[in-house]
Symmetry: C2
Subunit: 497 residues, 2 copies
Amino acid sequence: MGRPTVLLLLLTFLTPGAAIRVPPAMKALSSLRWSTSFTSRGTVAKKYSINYIEQKVNHFGFDADETFKQRYLIADEYWKKNGGSILFYTGNEGDITWFCNNTGFMWDVAAQLKAMLVFAEHRYYGESLPFGNKSFTDSRHLDFLTSEQALADFAVLIKHLKKTIPGAKNQPVIAIGGSYGGMLAAWFRMKYPHIVVGALAASAPIWHFGNLVPCGVFMEIVTKDFKRSGPNCSETIRNSWDAINRFARTGAGLRWLSKSLGLCTALTNTQDVQNLKAWISETWINLAMVDYPYESDFLQPLPAWPIKVVCQYLKNPSVSDAQLLQNIFQALNVYYNYSGQANCLNISETTTSSLGTQGWSYQACTEMVMPFCTNGIDDMFEPHSWNLREFSEDCFKQWGVRPRPAWIITMYGGKNISSHTNIIFSNGELDPWSGGGVTKDITDTLVAITIPEGAHHLDLRARNAFDPTTVLLARSLEVRHMKQWIRDFYANQRKKH
Amino acid sequence: MGRPTVLLLLLTFLTPGAAIRVPPAMKALSSLRWSTSFTSRGTVAKKYSINYIEQKVNHFGFDADETFKQRYLIADEYWKKNGGSILFYTGNEGDITWFCNNTGFMWDVAAQLKAMLVFAEHRYYGESLPFGNKSFTDSRHLDFLTSEQALADFAVLIKHLKKTIPGAKNQPVIAIGGSYGGMLAAWFRMKYPHIVVGALAASAPIWHFGNLVPCGVFMEIVTKDFKRSGPNCSETIRNSWDAINRFARTGAGLRWLSKSLGLCTALTNTQDVQNLKAWISETWINLAMVDYPYESDFLQPLPAWPIKVVCQYLKNPSVSDAQLLQNIFQALNVYYNYSGQANCLNISETTTSSLGTQGWSYQACTEMVMPFCTNGIDDMFEPHSWNLREFSEDCFKQWGVRPRPAWIITMYGGKNISSHTNIIFSNGELDPWSGGGVTKDITDTLVAITIPEGAHHLDLRARNAFDPTTVLLARSLEVRHMKQWIRDFYANQRKKH
């Protein structure tokens, strides 16, 4: 695709003058992609067909009439034409086969809902590139990467499926998604209620925009996760930044840091140190999102409850700077070297795959403007305020576009969504994204399900022997709602005839 | 604007090979604009302020960041900051000052609803031209003329008003519109229920798309209007086409036709004759839309119940061709020469103003694809089938774009809209557009109001001493619903605090 795969990090790192000029927002969300793409150990390969549909590049204009091939996957092993349903995964920022293989919940409930599973790839991700390898070349080619276009793709695809698959026409469709895909699922039900009877929006931070929630909430939850996972854990991390800063004052200190943290590339200047701290911050964020109760494969394999493991190394905030940073190194190794195979740590990467990074960076610079901030008091990070103006400048440099931070709220309603129906908002309380999510019932049919022991959309993952009771309960509630929507659909249909 | 103002007619007329290759759809809708723009006699000039807001030319893409000035009018004479409301006219295909001056209903109810009146101009009409005098030059400049962009303009405008007008923030907004503006009002509530608490969609043919209603329904209602307005009236018109065709066979016949019908320009060939018949058809259509119970100013002044007056000349379908056509001439004169000042009839025009013709022609060629047809049996017109392929070719020649006939249904739900709330669909039974409208309640809060003696959105017109009881009843029902929405809004607001 002609650009480095670690673009988001580079965007952060190459911006001079502040440790996190483009605040954790983008990095956090860039990671978010990966958390969804987990392959939990022991996952069996899924059986699905790979399909393509011709979609208009621009649903909202008629000058350009080009089309592109959107990829979607279908699994119909458990589908029943009689009384069945269609579970439609609203693909988010990544390769759809990853989501398909890692949204075990849909596979687990397919039989009881007699459901066809459809996984629709989001435009500009995976193989669904509107302009092939030119899709990311400039803002002109990127102009059709918006949530509205993605939802329109989904709507057109479902109409196509109902038209072409015998037996699908008179079946209810339920939208399911996690993270950004969860936002899409919720928004899809809001904007196209004639197409989906309901939506399961898992870990969907639909309120992480504008001033709807405090900009510090995300990092506060990250901090809480560390605080609860071991005594003095968050304090130790909070103290680490100054320890790094003190070492970074001298050349000898930089050399010591590079060696003691086992970095692949030695630190040589202030900017490198900012990059180091951003990379460490992102590591803690990633851990908070994937703090799952069982071993799982992320970038490298992770242990069960990985933050607890990390915190075993971070019990003492009051040791010497050198000792404290050596402990931090041990902790980082849980994330980057659980398998013991890494020779050094590469601070230009927190994830290994190249999927979707560019697309999400662009989306974060246009519609998906999520304010993030830290104050170092309620959270364990160095203080950084949210600066829209600087963010906008960075976006303009990077993509030639400027964010419109108010737009998503104008479009999708912000907190004023009570006139909609049939949306489940599920959130794990460990998940930093829950801070921007809907965690209280809005109406009888806009319901919130919270999972105290849940990290980022744990409920969408395949069932596991180590699942806490609360996620089992959440899933069973979700299924109960979905069954109700399906019953209502068929009841209405009978009424009509 | 560089193109002839009678473009729609030219588009029809210049297409060879069929009398109505681009069927009455477009002409009918082009006329529809005018019917809304009526100035009934005795209308007092309205007091309003003229305002402008900077709008993004493209709400759905970030590459081009241009803005344009959208015009809107505000009348706040009766507005109360305490317990008041905002009635928001969703501007349709024309100059907003016309709609403002001719939607008397809003002015009549302002006091009892303590309402601020806002009239928002639709982009690409009136003064709200995204690219000034270049707005219609090509499909690239026209690319932002869609209903979705117009609704986004409305949403942004309302958020702006609530932010900038002290006292407006916590007030309920109700969308009101007629005809295409009625469709916009309904769609606005469907897509932005967080911005408007309800919508009054008057004479909004939201189902005149795809196969949702039979393509012949419009012309059947036109025919019924003539049938009920005088004995043998529709039969006489039905017989007139063959009479014209028989005269048109010879040069002498063409000369006779030109003279007897008082045409400004003599007919010389077959195409001229097709144009003549299309022009006469359009005249009957226009009359059906504006068959109001009192004198009104249209293009020229019209008498009360104009079709009844017309039908006085059309009582005898079995006279000689010459006599029959002389009677048709008399009938046409009711429409074109009620004031007695026309020296000849100009078949290239059925309306005198130039407002919005280009814009609507483009919209009809892209999103607003309304199938129309006649069979000469259930209606009084020559048979013409709906031919999408030819229509598409004509559009491509005219605008360089092709229609997407399924899109509006995918976007706005077609007949599957029962999950929405708080929309009143009002229709006059005399109005040919009622055939594509919602004329039966869908749910408790998606209600239909029909007005047996009503033509095109009679209910939106100013009250008049000659208003039939049924329109008074309709208006009072409409007000009752609106008051309920306002009460619900304030009750919900109190609950929150």
